[in-house]
Amino acid sequence: MSNPNPAVVFSEGPLWMESVVSARKDTINILQKIKEFMDYKSQNPLALFGGKDTPLAGVSGSPYSKYLPKARKAHLTPDISIIYELSGKNPTTIKLLGVFTHADLGTGMPANKKRSEQMAKRLAREDIETFLKSLL
C-alpha cells in the first residue's frame, strides 16, 4: 500500500516521458532501472545512487552549468543517465528531466559541446527564446 503522504515526491518535465520511451527502444530494462532509482531516492533523496550520481554541470563553463546549475545526473546503465533536480523539504520534490545517453547529452568521448548546448537549452526550456525569435 502506498504512503498517502510521502516525504519524497516526483514531478516530470516536458521531455521526461518522451525520453523514457526513446530509451526503452534500445534498453529493455530501463523501466526497472528507473524504478530502482526512484525506490532508492524515496528512502533518502540526498543519498547518492551509485558512484556516478554527480552534478550535471561538470566542468565550469559547460552549457549545463549555465542553463541547469542545479541538475544532477545518475547512471542507470553505463551509457544512460537520469537527469534530475532536488527541491524543497517535507516533501522533497525530485524533478525528473529525462533519461539520456552520453551522445544525447554531448558528454561522450570526445565531448560534443554544441550538442551539450542544445540539450542544456532544451532541458532548461530556454528554447522558447529561439522559438519566439523565429516568429519575428
Binding site: 502506498s2 510521502p6 516530470e12 520511451v21 524533478k95 522558447i128 519566439l132 516568429l135
Partner: protein, 63 residues
C-alpha cells in the same frame, strides 16, 4: 514578494514583460499563449508508485 512570484510569474507579469518589447505585429496576448504552451510546466508532484504506474502504462509493461 513571494518566491513563487519570482519563479512563476503571473500571466499579467508575463504579459507586461512581453508587451514592453513587442514590436512583432503579433498581439501580445497571443505571445503569452505561445509562451505558456511551449514553456510547459512540470507535472503535479506524485508519489513514486504513481510515477511508476504512469510509466508502466506508457510503456505497456510491469516491473
Amino acid at each position: 514578494m513571494k518566491i513563487t512570484e519570482v519563479t512563476q510569474p503571473s500571466e499579467q507579469a508575463l504579459f507586461e514583460a512581453l508587451d514592453a518589447e513587442n514590436d512583432t505585429g503579433i498581439a501580445t496576448s497571443d505571445l503569452v499563449k505561445i509562451v505558456k504552451s511551449v514553456n510547459g510546466p512540470f507535472s503535479a508532484p506524485m508519489s513514486g508508485d504513481e510515477m511508476i504506474a504512469r510509466l508502466e502504462a506508457a510503456l505497456g509493461e510491469h516491473v
